[in-house]
């Protein structure tokens, strides 16, 4: 589709841009240092964008001369990103970490990041791939270091910048090799060009893909590109940590799925599945090892943490590992499972972080000792946190189990050569039980039961329940999510 026509399908993004501009302007004219005015505008703008994403109906096509895809797959990830952002904005308003900071531009920056993730979800051109990742990364650097007076936050930002620059450099190098090999930046043209390459290009093709994988791995924090994650997650303001663990990760997975499904497969990316036959490299094994390494490292290191925030950081690495389990199979079932898992993960992980934010506010710290006896003092928070912990472990009847179940279904269905990945996934589930249960143990078994009961304010209770109730409900009856994902599993494909 040409540039002018594309505009008509691009209006969710335009709406988002308008929201950003309004937020900046309103911020300039607002006097009080901490005003919720900006966030109100931003929430309205994002809700409008969400509606726009849902009602923009058109058969899958490309925008702006084949640089962006417009398809249900992209819309799915856009919706996930907006929902996560809305939750984070609401909780940021209640977090006490921003006291003494001017929060107006914070919301504007979040919206710019959303814009970047929109592009990530729909990029089908090497240039847009790189640009969208950079937009998201730059905003993340600033937001991670938003607490200017807090050295930990500064450290997080600096580390993030260094790792980010490093891995995006590697990725750019990989992209340039691909361009050199194929002479084009468009995914479909690359796919066709690769088919004509002879075996002498195998090495450079393999190398370039590994480099590109470094960029993706950095975004979804897969081993061995995960080193930034714990420090950045620990130092950032907690709402941003929650955000980083869900939204950019979802967008990263979207980009990765699209890249592998549309560049490196024979024929139709969602039916005649198979790794591109001429590339004589053990891709499935490599991705399998990355997956197992990611989840094992995440889980084993999470066990040793004393800070719940850091524990959740490592746990989010482990969850990226679970989702990577299905990449070696590159089947539509695998993509389906990752998409379901991301929806489930949104509820449980944001929920866990929100409880943490509330605990930091009430108890003044993020370590396990601050959770001790919490279940007795604040029964609602305790029960809700227990639900999230069980869900993250993957025990029925919670969404975490359903998500994991679909991942296992996809891996087992792919044949016995992938069973070892499922086996490691299963063992890792058991390992993760230990540290998730430690939170529950601290809340209920440690500390003195007190008769004094604290009930969180209505708004906090409401938001916790909005996340906790679906965590159980969709664990028992998940057909609505199933249908949504099924309808969204439609790529733009150019034959």
């Amino acid at each position: 589709m040409n540039n002018l026509l594309s505009i008509s399908l691009f209006w969710p993004e335009l709406l988002l841009t308008a929201t950003i501009l309004i937020a900046i302007v309103v911020d300039i004219f607002s006097q009080s240092p901490k005003s919720n005015k900006v966030s109100n505008y931003v929430i309205i703008g994002l809700l409008a964008t969400l509606v726009a994403v849902f009602i923009t109906n058109h058969s899958p096509t490309t925008l702006f001369m084949d640089s962006l895809a417009f398809d249900p797959f992209a819309s799915f990830f856009k919706s996930i990103v907006i929902v996560a952002t809305l939750f984070v904005i609401v909780i940021s308003r209640y977090s006490n970490e921003f006291e003494g900071y001017h929060t107006g531009e914070y919301y504007a920056l979040l919206c710019i990041m959303v814009f970047g993730m929109f592009l990530m979800a729909s990029a089908i051109d090497l240039i847009t791939v790189y640009l969208s990742i950079e937009v998201v990364s730059l905003m993340s650097f600033i937001l991670a270091g938003y607490l200017k007076n807090n050295p930990r936050s500064n450290e997080a930002s600096l580390k993030y910048v260094i790792y980010g620059a490093f891995s995006s450099g590697i990725m750019l190098y990989g992209l340039s090799i691909i361009f050199g090999l194929t002479g084009t930046t468009k995914f479909f043209a690359i796919r066709d060009a690769i088919a004509t390459l002879d075996s002498t290009s195998n090495l450079s093709l393999t190398l370039s893909t590994v480099f590109v994988l470094a960029g993706f791995g950095y975004k979804i924090s897969a081993v061995p590109f995960h080193f930034w994650t714990p420090d950045v997650y620990e130092g950032s303001p907690t709402p941003i940590t929650a955000y980083l663990s869900v939204a950019p990760k979802a967008a990263g997975f979207a980009l990765m799925i699209r890249f592998f499904n549309q560049v490196f497969v024979d024929g139709d990316s969602l039916s005649g599945l198979g790794w591109y036959s001429d590339v004589s490299f053990a891709w499935p094994e490599l991705l399998g090892i990355i997956s197992v390494a990611t989840m094992s490292l995440g889980n084993l290191v999470a066990i040793q943490q004393n800070s719940v925030k850091r524990m959740l950081a490592y746990s989010s690495i482990a969850h990226a590992g679970y989702m990577l389990m299905v990449f070696p199979t590159i089947s539509s079932e695998g993509v389906f499972a990752v998409m379901i898992y991301l929806v489930m993960y949104l509820f449980m992980n944001l929920g866990a972080f929100f409880v943490l934010i509330y605990v930091i506010q009430k108890e003044g710290g993020e370590n396990f000792e601050h959770f001790s006896g919490l279940g007795w003092r604040m029964p609602i928070v305790g029960i809700v946190m227990t639900v999230f912990m069980f869900s993250l472990t993957g025990l029925p009847p919670t969404v975490g189990f359903i998500g994991k179940f679909y991942l296992f279904v996809a891996v087992i269905n792919a044949g016995s050569s992938f069973y070892w990945i499922a086996f490691f996934g299963a063992i890792n589930t058991v390992i993760s039980l230990y540290y998730y249960m430690r939170v529950v143990k601290t809340m209920y078994l440690d500390g003195k039961p007190s008769d004094e009961i604290q009930v969180p304010p209505f708004s906090i209770t409401a938001i916790l329940l909005i996340l906790a109730v679906p965590s159980i409900f969709f664990g028992i009856y998940w057909t609505p999510i199933l249908n949504w994902v099924k309808d969204s599993l439609l790529f733009f494909v150019q034959i």
Binding site: F405, L433, Y434, K441, T479, L482
Partner: protein, 515 residues
């Protein structure tokens, strides 16, 4: 009578929700609600027992509903001669368990809510005929069990609770992989009745990593279930969990939860992978023998009464495994000794039930003395016979039941297991009989040290067993004596189902047999 199985499963949840809305200081009301809900459940179970058609070996009172059609998951319930005794036992133990825990005074609300949730989980496992549903209920049990041990248990409760949890979850994730492999092999269905028809043939000749797929799946499932039984060497969580758990939870743990593992093997391993039964029966009998001897010897060495009873459970489960392994006596290779196969498998199920009643009784009795003396050191008592005569008489009967004295139910089932296993596993049965001797030794020795001799001065103030405690023990005692003298009513109930099960292993497994 419609949906009676659903009612049995979900009634405790109704009770749990009711308890959740009661203020936490109304402790008596909470206990009464728990008693009423489990009481209704028991009545329903008795009703079910009375209308159950014992002449049929197929599933009765089936319920079916769509759940997640795209994945072939349904809500299917049904009951046969294998699950009926377990349902009845669970209903009884849960009802008595409420009264055993009457003295709980810390966080009463949470305790009974979790207790009822546990009840639902267990009933669900016994009644579900959809493998997915089965798995969900199987896992749902873990959460209440963790809290019940971890919050209301003894000094080492946290360690015991997490160890129990980790062990069981390890078993269940292996089971999950096996479940999915069977799911795809059987044409993407979780309907256990369909799976029982298809699975024995679906995997013939499939090889994974140089090993027959049937064997791999069997082993994965077996480990999952063996941890629950527990079979040596997966038993180490059990003594710890038993000792640390509060009395009522030990009762439920020994009375019901250990049966889940055996139930799972008979329901899933035996029916879906009958070929592999032939391959594994020898190992099963061997593990049974080890369980008998190991459990007995460990029990003999214990100073803590509760730990001794816990090890006696491991010992008793050994007899059961021998009986289960005896099923292959029915095959033509082993002389088509159908009588032996029947004796073994019926004995095993009967032993499940008997161990449920006897060990529950033993744990209640341990709790009675612990509540007054605040310790369980066998050596620390002495001469209690003169101080607590009624208690002594009941303990004597319970210990005799535990050591398998003729005239009490334990004897009948153990004898059946041995009779069944003897033609096939002669040596192992003979060695296992040493276990019976040791079994008698540790019970009698403990009895002697606790009740005979000179009364310890400290205990002149001990009171005899009270009415509430009597109320919890007497029903179990009556069942033990009645079934010991006249086991027919029980055996008639399960006979036809067991014949179907033996057919599945001997005929289907024999035909498809690839080993």
């Amino acid at each position: 009578m419609d949906n009676i199985l659903s009612w049995i499963i979900w009634i405790p949840i109704i009770g749990m929700v009711a308890i959740a809305f009661i203020p936490r200081d109304k402790k008596d009301l909470i206990k009464q609600i728990a008693a009423v809900t489990t009481g209704i459940q028991l009545l329903l179970a008795i009703m079910l027992w009375s209308v159950f058609d014992a002449t049929s070996g197929s599933f009765q009172f089936m319920e079916r509903a769509e759940w997640i059609p795209s994945l072939g998951i349904s809500y299917i319930l049904g009951i046969d001669g294998l699950s009926l005794p377990m349902v009845a036992l669970n209903a009884l133990i849960a009802f008595l368990g409420v009264f055993v825990s009457w003295n709980i005074d810390r966080a009463v609300k949470g305790y009974f809510a979790l207790f009822l949730l546990l009840d639902t989980g267990v009933m669900g496992v016994f009644l579900s005929l959809d493998f997915f549903l089965f798995y969900v209920f199987w896992e749902v049990m873990l959460l209440p069990m963790y809290f019940l041990i971890g919050m209301w248990g003894g000094p080492q409760r946290e360690y015991a609770a997490i160890k129990f949890f980790l062990y069981t979850l390890f078993g269940s994730v292996l089971m999950l992989i096996a479940l999915l492999a069977l799911y795809f092999a059987c044409g993407q269905t979780f309907d256990m009745i369909l799976m029982m028809e298809r699975a024995p043939f679906a995997l013939d000749g499939v090889v994974w990593w140089g090993m027959s797929a049937i064997k791999v799946i069997w082993v994965l499932l077996f480990i999952g279930f063996a941890i629950k039984v527990p079979v040596f060497p997966f038993h180490t969580w059990l003594p710890l969990a038993h000792v640390e758990a509060p009395t009522a939870i030990s009762v439920v743990l020994a009375g019901i939860l250990l049966k889940l593992g055996v139930y799972g093997m008979l329901r899933i391993n035996y029916t879906m992978l009958p070929d592999a039964v032939w391959w594994f029966a020898g190992s099963l009998a061997f593990l049974g023998m080890i369980n008998v001897l190991w459990g007995a010897m460990c029990a003999l060495a214990q100073k803590d009464l509760k730990k001794m009873v816990a090890y006696s459970s491991i010992n008793h489960m050994g007899y059961l495994l021998l009986g289960m392994a005896a099923v292959i006596a029915g095959g033509s290779v082993n002389g088509s000794n159908l009588m032996a196969a029947q004796a073994g498998i019926n004995g095993a199920v009967f032993q499940m039930f008997n161990h449920g009643t006897i060990s529950a009784m033993l744990f209640i009795l341990v709790g009675v003395i612990y509540e007054q003396a605040h310790h369980r050191d066998i050596e620390g008592f002495g001469g209690l016979a003169s101080q607590m005569p009624i208690y002594t008489a009941i303990v004597a009967l319970a210990f005799f039941a535990g050591l398998g004295l003729p005239g009490l139910s334990g004897f009948v089932s153990e004898a059946m297991c041995f009779i069944g296993a003897f033609p096939v596993f002669r040596t192992m049965v003979i060695i296992s009989t040493i276990g019976i001797l040791l079994n008698a030794a540790y019970f009698l020795w403990a009895f002697q040290r606790m009740f005979f001799g000179k009364l310890n001065e400290k205990y002149t103030k001990l009171e005899d067993i009270n009415k509430r405690e009597l109320f919890t023990v007497i029903p179990l005692l009556v069942i033990t004596i009645f079934l010991g003298v006249y086991p027919r009513p029980f055996l008639d109930m399960i006979k036809e189902t067991m014949n179907v099960l033996i057919d599945q292993v001997v005929v289907v497994g024999g035909v498809a047999g690839i080993f």
